[in-house]
């Protein structure tokens, strides 16, 4: 056995080298090791030219209906319009070194711009920004830092992109109330800044919509809850179900997989859900809209700054918040794969026109949304009082739920 | 030139590494019973498989009535009127007798089987040849002898003129054998031609007209039975003189070695007690045979005795030690050696080398291991010693993978291993099954040597000749019970046959067992 395996492997090598040598397309001398840092030789095919823009996928696939897909759509849209070669690379393992190795590979492949969607790349990009000073990195939803969080540094070649979640949440809350709902729910995951911002925006959006509709004080009830995790589990589903049974018409599910629990509860209760991050209408019929981050839009804008407007300095070396002004947040306005469809078809009254009106107000600054408030509790769970006082809620009555 | 109904001329058939048939010629006359004699592995089955279309010969030709024919598969053979009763029946267990007979040649009307036509024809044949059967019985419910009749009827139903019987008597009782031989004679008188494969010389002398002998794939010759003798035939078969009678001294029985009391064994397969209330003793220096037709509880009894299965009640004592609940290893240490019925299933690890198999019962002893590491030098040395002592032949000596060895040498390996191991009782189940005369002779002499050296031997055999020759005492088992006990000198094969088939049982024993 030993012998035969050793021999087997040896024979394969011989056999394949024969195959390789007889192949007319590929002279043996061309075999350059990829890790020596040279771009691979052009073997003639259009797609074999190496690539200029590379996206490293986070855990999960390119069609994850989340960060990977959203940002890749932006890369594709821009690169195809401009005729720039592009490629995505899947890390061999989901670890900081795995991500870094994928970046290495992308750079070896000739990448001048590397898009890294998601905060999981923070450490890898921190390393890569020094390692490849000539390569530009677009880090979405994160800022580069060391593994132990002791040093945060965004070098000149890195654009750290964050999103104004409060505006997105504002639009969602606004839409729900304008659609005629009076009993809303919020289920955040853990009280991390992004989730908090979504929640605060949601409440402010509901408040303003109620005021606009001329509703009486206290006519909107919001149940406000942090699950304390980002999981799909039975507790989360039970909580959502209880909220629905208590009369809640829609829950803004804002915490990763919590959404699945909420959708499942909504399905059984014949109620509605507002999705988060990306357009989640495709996950469940119960999702009426989603408070999204404009992943594609932000990627395109940064790429524009590199290739067309020569304004990389606007993004490089710092953290940029994407908001309504630069199409960085919003509710979905199109249905993927169906050009003519109405993305607002799951609302009963609320329309695209109303949305655009509100959106314009966010853009021109006539509406300002508060992103953070002071919370006493170390968990970050705000009390109803804190919310009401600091967000200036009148029409909206908040009940927190532990 | 004589007229032969079937001629196989200069047939050569090779398998990788072996020439199974080397230039063999066999000529079958119309209306004769032609025996084909040879040791195991002599090439009989291969030759018949060539005739029946299961193998294609590389050289030579087959003629029917002088015309060259091509037999590519059993259907071709059937079309030429050649039928075969295989050693292992090819019947569908949960079909009826009638359905099995007509299988493949069902008379049909627009796709519907017309069983009445078939039934008439089957009954007609059955009456004509005295092969009475119940056409509606399920195969699984009828005896082996009856199943053989079904196989024979299958051939007759297809109007076969050339009938091949492959070792047909191996599974039958003496009475059934006599009956079968008469039926075969009847066929021959009808003008059918019969090829009778066997290694039992008595049967050939009794029924055959001529006999062709093969040895090691080669054709030795064809003789007229009336001009020959058993001794001459066996010499042709083996190539040397064979003694049929086992030489042995008078028994000198000593102390009780094995004592079995009221042992019952439940068969989970048949959902009933396969062994019922069996009691007997074996003394040192004694060979006790358990005779009986296969399937009457012998296997289950041996399993319980050797520890492969649990007994439901009763006790087993070996040299005074209670081993009823002992593990197999404990029994082995207590002095039990076991030559198992199925050497491939139990006796050997076929993919192990010969030396590894030769220490299968002893690898754990300090002679062969040290702190869990096997002493391969000692194993090899011991294996070479056994190979030499018991004349175990193989291509690469101790290194040989046992699977590649011949059945006889595999059996020799087992016997050497079990005999050489320290023991008081040797349980040998069908130790000579499927072996050639030379090997049988050798094994018999070993068993007698064991007995003479003061060991106890418990032999389970379906071969009455063997039972009569070897034993000092015979126990007959029928349906899980001991129905008779005999001294070989005071009984004969016919009497044993009656007990084995349940036609007779010892009234004294009956009373003993009548308690239940």
């Amino acid at each position: 056995m030993k012998r035969f395996l050793a021999l087997t492997l040896a024979m394969i090598m011989v056999a394949v080298s024969l195959i390789g040598c007889t192949s007319p397309e590929a002279p043996a001398g061309e075999q350059k090791p990829a890790t020596e840092g040279e771009a691979p030789a052009n073997t003639g095919g259009g797609s074999a030219d190496g690539f200029e823009i590379a996206l490293i996928t986070d855990k999960g696939n390119i069609d994850d209906k989340s960060f990977n897909q959203g940002s890749w759509e932006g890369v594709v849209e821009f690169a195809e319009a401009e005729g720039i070669s592009h490629q995505y690379i899947k890390p061999e393992e989901a670890s900081d070194t795995g991500y870094l190795a994928a970046i290495d590979l992308a750079v070896d492949g000739g990448a001048k711009v590397v898009v890294t969607p998601g905060f999981l790349f923070e450490v890898a990009v921190y390393e890569a920004q020094t390692k490849y000073p000539d390569v530009k990195f677009i880090l979405l939803d994160g800022t580069p830092h060391t593994a132990d969080y002791s040093t945060f540094e965004t070098k000149e070649n890195v654009a750290s992109i964050l999103y104004s979640e409060e505006q997105s949440g504002y639009l969602a809350g606004n839409a729900a109330v304008k659609d005629g709902m009076t009993k809303l729910g919020f289920m955040g995951g853990m009280a991390v800044p992004a989730v908090q911002a979504f929640g605060y925006g949601y409440l402010q959006g509901a408040e303003d919509a109620a005021a606009e509709l001329g509703l009486a004080d206290g006519s909107i009830e919001v149940t406000y809850h942090y699950t304390g995790n980002f999981e799909e589990n039975d507790t989360n589903k039970a909580t959502a179900k209880t909220m629905y049974q208590e009369g809640t018409e829609v829950i803004f599910a804002c915490g990763g997989s919590v959404g699945k629990s909420v959708m499942s509860a909504a399905n059984e209760s014949d109620a509605k859900v507002i999705g988060v991050d990306v357009d989640q209408r495709y996950d469940s019929e119960t999702v009426i809209t989603s408070a999204t981050k404009g992943l594609a839009a932000s990627v395109i804008q940064v790429l524009e700054s590199i290739y067309n407007t020569d304004s990389w300095d606007n993004f490089g070396g710092k953290t940029t918040y994407f908001n309504a002004e630069n199409d960085g947040v919003g509710l979905p306005t199109i249905v993927i794969g169906d050009e003519g469809a109405d993305a607002f078809d799951r609302f009963e009254q609320y329309t695209m026109e109303q949305y655009e009106e509100t959106y314009a107000q966010l853009v021109d600054g006539s509406i300002e949304v508060i992103r953070s408030i002071d919370v006493a509790d170390t968990t970050g769970y705000a009390t109803a009082e804190e919310l009401t006082d600091q967000l200036g809620l009148k029409k909206v009555v908040v009940t927190t739920r532990q | 030139m004589e007229n032969y109904v079937i001629e196989m001329l200069n047939i050569t058939k090779r398998f990788p590494g072996i020439i199974a048939n080397d230039n063999i010629t066999l000529q079958l006359r119309k209306g004769e019973i032609h025996a084909l004699l040879g040791e195991n592995g002599a090439g009989k089955s291969t030759l018949m498989s060539v005739l029946f279309g299961l193998y294609q010969a590389e050289e030579g030709e087959i003629r029917k009535n002088g015309q060259r024919v091509d037999i590519r598969d059993p259907n071709d053979a059937n079309a030429l009127g050649i039928g075969m009763v295989h050693q292992h029946f090819k019947l569908v267990e949960n079909f009826t007798v009638l359905e099995n007979i007509i299988l493949g040649v069902e008379p049909n009307k627009m796709g519907f089987i017309n069983k009445n036509v078939a039934r008439e024809k089957v009954m007609e044949i059955s009456q004509k040849y005295g092969l009475s059967i119940n056409p509606d019985a399920l195969i699984e419910d009828i005896t082996v002898g009856m199943q053989q009749r079904v196989e024979i009827l299958k051939m007759l139903y297809r109007d076969n003129e050339i009938l091949i019987f492959d070792e047909p008597t191996a599974v039958l009782t003496p009475q059934e054998i006599t009956e079968l031989l008469q039926i075969m004679r009847g066929f021959a008188n009808e003008g059918k031609s019969i090829l009778f494969i066997t290694h039992k010389l008595n049967e050939i002398m009794e029924v055959a007209d001529r006999c062709s002998v093969l040895r090691k794939g080669k054709y030795i010759g064809t003789v007229d039975i009336k001009d020959t003798s058993k001794e001459a035939l066996s010499k042709m078969m083996v190539g040397r003189d064979i003694t049929f009678k086992v030489e042995k001294k008078e028994m000198e029985a000593g102390d009780v070695v094995l004592s079995v009391r009221n042992l019952s064994v439940f068969s989970t397969l048949h959902k009933k007690d396969a062994v019922k209330n069996v009691s007997f003793d074996i003394r040192s220096g004694e060979i006790v045979c358990l005779a009986g037709i296969d399937g009457n509880g012998q296997s289950e009894f041996v399993y319980a005795l050797t520890g492969l299965e649990k007994s439901t009640s009763g006790s087993i004592h070996l040299c005074g030690q209670d081993i009823t609940k002992a593990s197999i290893r404990q029994r082995s240490i207590a002095g039990l050696s076991h030559i198992p019925e199925d050497r491939h299933k139990h006796g050997l690890v076929l993919d192990y080398k010969l030396d590894e198999n030769l220490v299968l019962q002893r690898y754990w002893q300090n002679d062969f291991q040290n702190r869990g590491f096997i002493k391969f030098d000692a194993v090899r040395e011991y294996a070479d010693y056994l190979i030499d002592k018991y004349d175990i032949r193989s291509s690469q000596g101790a290194e040989t993978i046992v699977r590649s060895m011949s059945g006889g040498n595999q059996q020799k390996a087992i016997i050497g291993r079990e005999i050489d191991k320290d023991h008081q009782l040797l349980v040998a189940v069908q130790p000579t099954r499927g072996l050639d005369v030379g090997a049988i002779e050798y094994i018999h002499s070993q068993l007698v040597a064991m007995r003479d050296s003061g060991k106890a031997v418990f032999l389970v055999s379906f071969e009455l000749d063997e039972v009569m020759n070897l034993s000092d005492r015979i126990l007959v088992m029928y349906e899980g019970e001991i129905v008779g006990e005999f001294k070989p000198k005071e009984t004969n094969v016919q009497e044993l046959g009656l007990y084995m088939s349940g036609a007779k049982r010892d009234t004294a024993k009956e009373n003993v067992h009548g308690r239940e």
Partner: protein
Amino acid sequence: MEGNNSPSKNKFNINQFLKKIGFGSFVSALMAIILGLVFGYLVMLIANPNSATAGFRYILFGGLQRKGDVFYFATPIIMTGLSVGFAMKMGLFNIGASGQYTMGMFFALYVGFMWDLPDGIHWIVAILAGMIGGIIWGLIPGVFKALLNVNEVITSIMFNYIGMFLVDMLIQGNGTMYDPIRTRTNYLPGSSLIPSLGITGSNVNFGIVFAVIIGVILFIILQKTTFGYELKATGHNKFASEYAGMKGKTNIILTMAIAGALSGFGGAFAILSPSGIAGSSMTYEPINIISQAGFNGIAVALLGNSHPIGTIFSAIFISHIQRGGTLTSLVGYKPEIIDVVIAVIIYFSSFSMIMSSYLGKFLTRIIKHTDKDDNSNNAKEA
């Protein structure tokens, strides 16, 4: 192939050679791998004809430039491959390697996070803890099989799920181990990480050294000890092993426990890998997915014919083509296509082992035939 002009002489050599090395298994393994590669190449041709040759060359040779990574990624699948192969020697199908692997990871993580041990000892204890986790998860199906005759395949599959959910639950419930914001474990303390072998650009660590040592130890156990003798005998013919008085039940339990230990080691080696980035480490993400490493172990064991040394080579081979496969991104292959190509290669390579006997016979016949022709020619000449 190239010796067509001097057939008889050549054949003579081939025959001698083949006899020497054990003809059937060698040729069939070789053919299997070549067959797998050919199909992989075909898939690449279909997916992207222009880059197929360049891409295929990466698959074949790319790994040579990434030796560190080849060994690094081979480590866990060597262990699960050994685990599956070892049980297979006994005739048991340890499909539960994934669960044992995950348990090994958890135990290693637990010791890594929760026990404060000095440098140089911490990681060793963590590895041993991983082994114990694997043992527990292998032992239970073994006990079920031995005492209650429950098919180990069923129990193992169930234990894959139980183990995975249990570990996910335990990790999420542990504030020290779990980082709820990133929904995965925190970085392990440096003292609990296996020392790196110091190859730049790769996390390859002493895990591979241990894996190879363990493989050799298994080889010795199987070949030299009474336990190995009993184990293989049972695997070949459990009736004969019973007849020989071997303790079948004890051996089943022991074998499954050892198989579990091997997978547990695999989990520990994987999760305790050092990181090239200071302060970083591997993390475990409790996302209710059964680890792939266990199933890859089945392919590895099949390809290595359950032989410990063969398993090491087959794991390295698989890791080699995977590492090369990753590089095909450079010539425009999408990761998904590469996954398909790698899967096709592995699948054919492993699956064809099952057909090996047929293939072997087929080739034997061809060679025999040509031999016979030669002989007859010679005879005529004579």
